[in-house]
C-alpha cells in the first residue's frame, strides 16, 4: 500500500516536473533508480501518445466532415418493410431480393401483395407500415402440374442419356412419346427454394404443405406445365394433361392423357375444350355434383384433384390394346 502511494506520488511529481514542487518534495523523498526509469519511460512515451492523439483527432475531423457530406438517407420505413417480409429472396415479386422489393413498395405502394411466400400477412403488415388499407386479393395461388403420367404411364421411343435437365431434353425431339408431358428431370425441383417439389416416379409432384406459391417452378418448366391456380378450396379439380394431340395420338403415347372427347364439357360449363384438350375454367370454379360426374365419366381419368389432401386419382380402365 505504501509502495503504491509512493509510486503515484512520484509519477505525478515527475509528470508535472515543476521546480517548485521538486524542491518541496525532495526535502522528504529521494528519487531511486527504479523511479528514474519510469521517469525516462514517461518522457519518451508522451510525445508518441501526443502525436497519435493529434493524428487521431485530425482523421476524426476529416471523417466527420465526410460522413456529413456523404450521408446516405435510409428511410426507416424501408427497413420496417424489409423486416415484415419473409427474407427468402425468392424473386416471386419480380425483384432480385426482399431488400429491393421493400424499396420498390415504399416508392410505389401498388406493388403490395406481390410477395407470394409472405402472403396476406406480409401484405397486411406492409400496409400497416405505409398507413394503407389492402383489399382482399382473393385466394392464394398455388401451382398445379398439368400432367399426371408416371413412368409406367408414358411411352418412350428411345433412351435419353443426355444432360439431366428438362430444358436440355426438351430441345430434342422424341425424348419421350408425349411432346407435352412432364419430362421428370426436375428443373422445377431445382428452381424450388422451399423443397416443395419432387419428382415422384417420373412426375413432378407438388408438396402443398411446403409450397409458398412463389411461381419459381412455373417459370422453370420448359414445357409450361405448371400453372398458378387460385386455390379457393383446399383441393382443386384439374385436367392433369397438356397434350394438344388428337385423341388418337394421345392414346397412343400416354395411358392417362386427355383425348379431348368433350364428355366433361357436356356435364358442366366449367370445362372448356380447346385444341383437343379440356381445361377447368378457374374463374367460374364452383364444385357441384355435375363436376363430380364429369370426373367419374372421364374415360382416361385425367380429371383429378390436386391439393393438400387430394384423394388418390382413379386409374383408367385397362384397355386391351387391339390396335397394336
Amino acid at each position: 500500500m505504501t509502495f503504491v502511494i509512493y509510486y503515484l506520488l512520484f509519477t505525478i511529481y515527475y509528470c508535472i516536473d515543476s521546480a517548485a514542487l521538486h524542491t518541496a518534495l525532495s526535502s522528504w523523498v529521494q528519487p531511486t533508480p527504479f523511479l528514474a526509469d519510469i521517469y525516462q519511460l514517461w518522457n519518451s512515451a508522451w510525445p508518441a501518445g501526443l502525436t497519435m492523439l493529434g493524428l487521431g483527432i485530425g482523421f476524426a475531423i476529416v471523417l466527420l466532415i465526410a460522413s456529413i457530406k456523404l450521408k446516405v438517407e435510409v428511410d426507416p420505413k424501408i427497413e420496417q418493410i424489409h423486416e415484415a417480409l419473409p427474407n427468402l429472396d425468392c424473386g416471386a415479386c419480380g425483384f432480385p431480393g426482399c431488400g429491393q422489393y421493400a424499396k420498390a413498395v415504399m416508392e410505389n405502394p401498388e406493388l403490395i401483395g406481390k410477395c407470394a411466400p409472405g402472403g396476406p400477412q406480409a401484405s397486411a403488415k406492409i400496409a400497416d407500415i405505409l398507413n394503407l388499407q389492402v383489399s382482399d386479393s382473393g385466394p392464394q395461388k398455388r401451382p398445379i402440374v398439368h400432367c399426371r403420367a408416371h413412368k409406367s404411364d408414358k411411352i418412350f421411343y428411345a433412351g435419353y442419356e443426355g444432360i439431366e435437365s428438362c430444358t436440355a431434353a426438351n430441345a430434342l425431339a422424341n425424348v419421350q412419346g408425349c411432346a407435352f408431358g412432364c419430362l421428370g428431370f426436375g428443373d422445377c425441383t431445382r428452381a424450388c427454394k422451399f423443397d416443395a417439389l419432387h419428382i415422384v416416379d417420373g412426375l413432378s409432384t407438388v408438396d402443398y404443405e411446403k409450397c409458398t406459391g412463389c411461381t419459381a417452378c412455373s417459370k422453370a418448366c420448359p414445357r409450361n406445365l405448371i400453372e398458378m391456380v387460385p386455390f379457393s378450396h383446399e383441393n382443386m379439380m384439374t385436367v392433369a394433361c397438356s397434350s394438344k394431340e388428337s385423341g388418337k395420338s394421345t392414346r397412343a403415347i400416354c395411358k392417362v392423357g386427355c383425348i379431348g372427347c368433350g364428355l366433361c364439357a357436356k356435364q358442366s360449363e366449367q370445362f372448356v375444350i380447346a385444341n383437343n384438350l379440356a381445361r377447368v375454367d378457374y374463374v367460374k370454379y364452383q364444385l357441384t355434383e355435375k363436376e363430380e360426374t364429369a370426373m367419374n365419366k372421364c374415360p382416361t381419368k385425367v380429371i383429378i384433384y390436386r391439393g393438400k389432401s387430394a384423394p388418390e386419382p382413379q386409374q383408367p380402365k385397362q384397355k386391351t390394346t387391339t390396335s397394336a
Binding site: 510525445p47 502525436t51 497519435m52 493524428l55 487521431g56 476529416v62 471523417l63 465526410a66 456523404l70
Partner: protein, 196 residues
C-alpha cells in the same frame, strides 16, 4: 529527364516486377475472395488503388515529416494502420453514396481493405526502400494499386473461364484457384531482376 525515367522505372517495377500480389504474396485475401467476376474485381481493384494511393502518400508524409523528426519511428505501424483505416472509411462512405449496388456486392470485403496486407505492406516497403521524394512515393503507391488491379482482374478473367472448365471434383473451388494463383505468380517470376 532523369527523374522522369526513374519514376517511370519505379512505376513499371511496382506494377509488374515487384507486383505485391505475385511476388510478395500480399493481399491474397481479396485476391481470392473478390475475383469471382471481372466487374467486381475491377471495382475492388479501383477501391484498393484509391486507398493505397491515399495511404501510401499520407504515410510517407507522416513518416518523413513527423515521425522521423520526432524520433518516433517505433510508432510507424500504429500510425500507418490509423491512416489506412481512415482512408478505407472514406472510400466506404463514398462507394455507399455513389455506387450502392457495388457496395452491396462487396459486402464484408470493402471494410476488409483495412486489413489488406498489400496496403500496409506497401507503406512499409516505401519506408524500407528508403524512398526519398514525395513524388516517388505517390508513383509507387499508385503503381501498387494498379498492379493489384491488374492481378485481380487477370485472376477474375481466368476464374470466369474456369467455371466452364471440367475441373476434377477434388480440385473444385478453392484448390484450383490456389493452383491458378501459383501458376500466375510463376509466370510473373519471368520478369524478376529486369529492374533492380
Amino acid at each position: 529527364m532523369d527523374t522522369v525515367t526513374a519514376l517511370l522505372l519505379a512505376f513499371i517495377s511496382i506494377v509488374i516486377i515487384n507486383n505485391l500480389v505475385f511476388t510478395k504474396f500480399l493481399g491474397i485475401c481479396p485476391y481470392l475472395g473478390v475475383s469471382g467476376r471481372i466487374d467486381m474485381a475491377f471495382g475492388m481493384g479501383m477501391a484498393v488503388t484509391f486507398v493505397v494511393t491515399l495511404s501510401g502518400t499520407m504515410t510517407w508524409m507522416i513518416d518523413n515529416w513527423i515521425l522521423m523528426k520526432l524520433g518516433l519511428e517505433v510508432t510507424r505501424y500504429v500510425c500507418f494502420i490509423l491512416v489506412i483505416a481512415g482512408a478505407v472509411q472514406l472510400v466506404e462512405m463514398y462507394v455507399r453514396k455513389f455506387f450502392p449496388s457495388l457496395y452491396d456486392s462487396f459486402g464484408i470485403f470493402l471494410p476488409l481493405i483495412t486489413t489488406n496486407c498489400a496496403i500496409l505492406g506497401l507503406c512499409l516497403f516505401i519506408n524500407l526502400w528508403e524512398v526519398d521524394s514525395l513524388i516517388k512515393a505517390v508513383v509507387l503507391s499508385f503503381g501498387a494499386g494498379i498492379g493489384f488491379t491488374m492481378a485481380i482482374c487477370i485472376m477474375a478473367g481466368i476464374r470466369e473461364n474456369l467455371n466452364l472448365a471440367d475441373v476434377p471434383d477434388c480440385l473444385k473451388g478453392a484448390p484450383i484457384t490456389l493452383i491458378t494463383a501459383g501458376l500466375l505468380s510463376l509466370a510473373f517470376m519471368g520478369f524478376a531482376g529486369m529492374i533492380k
